[in-house]
Amino acid sequence: MLGRRGLAGFGLAIGLLAPFAAWADDTDQAEKFVDKLLKDLSAVVNGGKPVDAQKAAMRQIVFEAVDIDGVARFCLGRFWRTATPQQQKDYTEIFRNVMVSNITGKVGEYQGVSFALGKGQARVEEISVASTVNRPGNAPNKVDWLVANVGGKPRVIDVVAEGTSLRLTQRNDYSAFLQRNNNDVQALIDALKKQAVAAN
């Protein structure tokens, strides 16, 4: 017979398990999300359309799938707090441009790429979905896609290639630059603007 204590224990167990059930759902959702993203990306780079059309299509995918504003904030790190609201706005805008043109700039190089989706794994605040990226003439690369729930939708917040995090590397680059420029966020914004001009 299940006594009152038994029932209470059962209730407690359910309460404890509920977050895990939610996690399992999230992991499933994140895997599906990354699967779709990789299929979309390879359709674009292997679609045989003119390069400009490929770039436009990829831009669209990146804006929809990546939490660019969140990544921008992460990359500025502790300097986000010291930046003025205007600087935060300018920085986020120029960051978007630079990031997207860095990703789409070499679209031709990804011709022939194929992805193999691996398993999703729940972390503290995000879900890491593993994949293997195969490019002709290159050794296969292990790439993990970090997916978080941003505003009710799954979004990519980081890409970890062979153990190197894109956003962490970017943050380290920016903070080294800022250290050598008197921690002046404006100097960073100006440097990024110059970079955007050079890239386009």
């Binding site: 502790r78 003439g137 153990g163 590397t169 680059d173 903070s175 080294a176 630059f177 050598r180 970079q195």
Partner: protein
């Protein structure tokens, strides 16, 4: 071997001299964020490291990169991958030694199978047949072995020519060179030529494989030195984490199991 040790000790002396020339000033203690970052970056001799980086970068621009670009241009991708396979196979004995030192029978078995299969069926390592049959390559070197044993990395170190390292991995590199069996061939002109060729081709192969990536990093980074430091340290940590993982017993796919 003696030559390598000699040039390495010269490099150590150079670095030591540079260290005295410039240590990074730690940020003031009342700025905890900056202090945390200084610790996380782990680069107390940054000014000296930057000097070595600048010299390395010049050498790279003038010699290594042009050679690597020429190598990629002249040789077809297939030929380059055969050369890469050969070098990989020559490195397998050292990888095997480190797998064993790390206490990883499964990984050691993988490396042993790679060495046996690629040397025989792969015609002396010309073809990498082992990967397709379920024995893929992995990294193992003495620096990683020291890390698995619990040795700390020490401060970030930019070595002349060799590039990013730290005391643990620098010592490991010398140890791996000493352990390479081709270093113990009998003295003779052919073997000396073979030794030099292997070193030079190895350097060109390594540089040629990262021409595009390194170009991209240098074009896109605001501070290439810091970006390379970050990339290298993260990648190194992930290699070590991989080596520290407990082994799971599985069957290679060639035997009907799944990897």
């Amino acid at each position: 071997m003696q030559r390598i040790v000699q040039s390495f000790s010269q490099a150590v002396v150079l670095v030591a001299a540079l260290v005295m020339a410039g240590c990074a000033t730690a940020p003031p203690a009342d700025d905890p964020d900056a202090v945390a970052e200084f610790k996380q970056t782990n680069d107390p001799i940054e000014p000296a490291n930057r000097v070595v980086y600048a010299v390395n970068d010049k050498i790279d621009q003038v010699v290594l990169r042009p050679v690597a670009v020429g190598y990629n241009y002249v040789l077809a991708p297939g030929v380059r991958s055969h050369i890469h396979n050969l070098l990989d196979n020559l490195g397998n004995p050292v990888t095997l030694m480190n797998d064993m030192l790390q206490g990883k029978p499964r990984r050691a078995g993988d490396t042993l199978m790679r060495l046996v299969l690629n040397t025989t069926i792969g015609v002396g390592g010309f073809f990498d047949v082992a990967t397709g049959w379920g024995w893929p390559a992995h990294d193992a070197d003495l620096g990683m072995t020291f890390a698995v044993w619990g040795a700390p990395e020490g401060p970030y170190l930019m070595l002349p020519i060799f590039g990013p390292s730290n005391p643990r991995d620098g010592i490991g590199m010398v140890g791996d060179m000493a352990a390479t069996p081709t270093g113990y061939l009998p003295h003779g002109l052919e073997n000396t030529v073979f030794g030099y060729t292997k070193t030079v081709v190895g350097a060109v192969d390594a540089r040629a494989g990262v021409v595009d990536d390194l170009d991209k990093i240098k074009a896109q980074a605001l501070d290439p030195y810091a970006t390379i430091r970050s990339l290298w340290r993260q990648h190194r940590q992930s290699q070590i984490d991989e080596a520290k993982k407990p082994e799971i017993l599985t069957q290679p796919s060639a035997w009907g199991g799944s990897k």
